[in-house]
Subunit: 291 residues, 2 copies
């Protein structure tokens, strides 16, 4: 019996959502917060992203406009649309859904979004602010990890946080957030990835392990020491013969839960918190635009 | 006898300078490369920075224009000067010398510099490019560390590089460079700092240790394991009664050289390579402006 606490992401998300709802109510404004999401082509990942967010946005009466371009659209047409949304005063937030088909440059499109509307921190300038320790907005997934540790009172200052994965949506922005000065930062941060040699030696040194590689079930209990807090950012589908595919994380729940002191499940862990953080960012952008 | 190799930064700098000189010669251009450095106030650090760079720039016939404002200058006057230098076609590179007196915002001033002239990667946008893994220029000190490892054939791919210090001139940009994909990157990177708990446990796990905290002689031989490569970015003056102050690094050379497999001295290590890298960046900016 290790007494591993299973972290309830849905509860944390609900807490954040409640605060966000109060922020909307207290503004006493008639215009609703509005986010515009741009998708190109019919990628299933983008479609599933939209479905997840749509219900949550509706709960908070956030207007969620989706602009779907077919994969043959000209780059200039997409750019023009993003420019218009960016200068539209009734739009508080703009994002480009990933992935975009070959031939489109998501960085170039994201760079059109002004920092104040870049609620998922996609543009080069927004990333530069984050990297420099003064983010206006952070990528929602990375911020969700920070929120979970805050809500669960996981100390990070001075502690060793090991991040698996160096992506621009999780690994690298999370490293930047954890290296910031202050009570939710000041961590000692290690970033590991597919090229890392002798990974278990490094993961066993972690006080907190964040798995964000997208490789399903790749983190086993033997890789961590007793008492580690484990946050699982991964979300993958695994085929099960004759059944619905199974949704799993990067972490092998079974073996890790025997050793970790706390662990986020998949689903119901980082995912709902990410949605809640994104909505909070939209509402913050909206709230700033009112003042 | 550990056989610690003392890395000759002056030799590496000379090699880089020779290549840079050839790049200038091959262009067959009459206009010389030109960098404009802006300083505000009379900070001794900025003055010493200028002296170090001036001689090197002269060797390559790089025009080095220094604009010194007194500490009472208006912000708009400095901004206007940087704007003019930025749009001046005879100027290839612009930098603002650090530190600036209280009341001036170096980030705001650096943000005026266009990415193609931002040879020390000071602006938010340039930093965003670096963080995203597609730098146009990197901070010279961080790039100098990469150059040293390349010239000394120190493998980093998959290896554990521990960086002491999270500054925006060395620690953080170096982490970004080392996390890039490719042969000079792909390292497992840990960033430590003043808040790190149980530092020796982490430094003893390093294959390569980069000391960049500016705390003189703070890294002792007991903190590393046999065979570690140690790069010392620090440079401090220590008072010696009745004598000239002694220039030392962050590393206690005496004890570390008994354990490390290779070590950069101070002076004569990272410093001259940083100057050589900065000049190469100026010449690259110049060379791009010709095409």
């Amino acid at each position: 019996m290790s007494g591993c606490r299973i972290i309830d992401g849905r509860r944390i998300a609900a807490e954040i959502e409640t605060e966000t709802g109060m922020l909307i109510a207290s503004a006493g404004e008639r215009r609703r917060p509005c986010i515009v999401a741009v998708s190109i082509g019919n990628d299933p990942a983008a479609a599933s992203y939209i479905r997840q967010k749509e219900r949550a946005m509706a709960r908070l009466s956030i207007e969620f406009r989706i602009k779907s371009f077919s994969s043959g659209v000209s780059k200039s047409q997409v750019s023009r649309f993003i420019e218009e949304a960016s200068s539209d005063r009734s739009v508080d937030a703009v994002m480009v859904l990933s992935p975009v088909p070959q031939g489109y440059d998501i960085d170039e499109l994201a760079d059109i979004i002004p920092p104040g509307k870049d609620v998922d921190c996609m543009s080069t300038y927004s990333r530069g602010l984050l990297y420099s320790g003064r983010p206006l907005f952070s990528p929602a997934t990375a911020e969700a990890v920070i929120e979970i540790m805050k809500h669960e009172s996981v100390p990070v200052s001075g502690r060793h946080v090991v991040i698996l994965g160096r992506s621009l949506v999780t690994g690298r922005p999370l490293a930047s957030l954890l290296l910031m000065k202050g009570k939710e930062g000041d961590a000692t941060v290690t970033v590991c990835h597919s090229r890392t040699e002798d990974l278990p030696r490094i993961t066993r040194s972690a006080d907190v392990l964040v798995a964000a590689t997208g490789r399903p079930l790749s983190v086993a209990g033997t890789m961590i020491r007793e008492g580690t807090v484990v946050i699982d950012v991964g979300i993958s589908e695994i085929a099960v013969p004759g059944k619905q595919p199974r949704i799993v994380g990067d972490v092998d729940f079974e073996s890790v839960s025997k050793v970790a002191s706390a662990l986020t499940p998949v689903p119901g862990g980082v995912g709902p918190v990410t949605t809640a953080v994104l909505m909070r960012n939209v509402v913050r952008a909206w709230s700033r635009s009112l003042s």
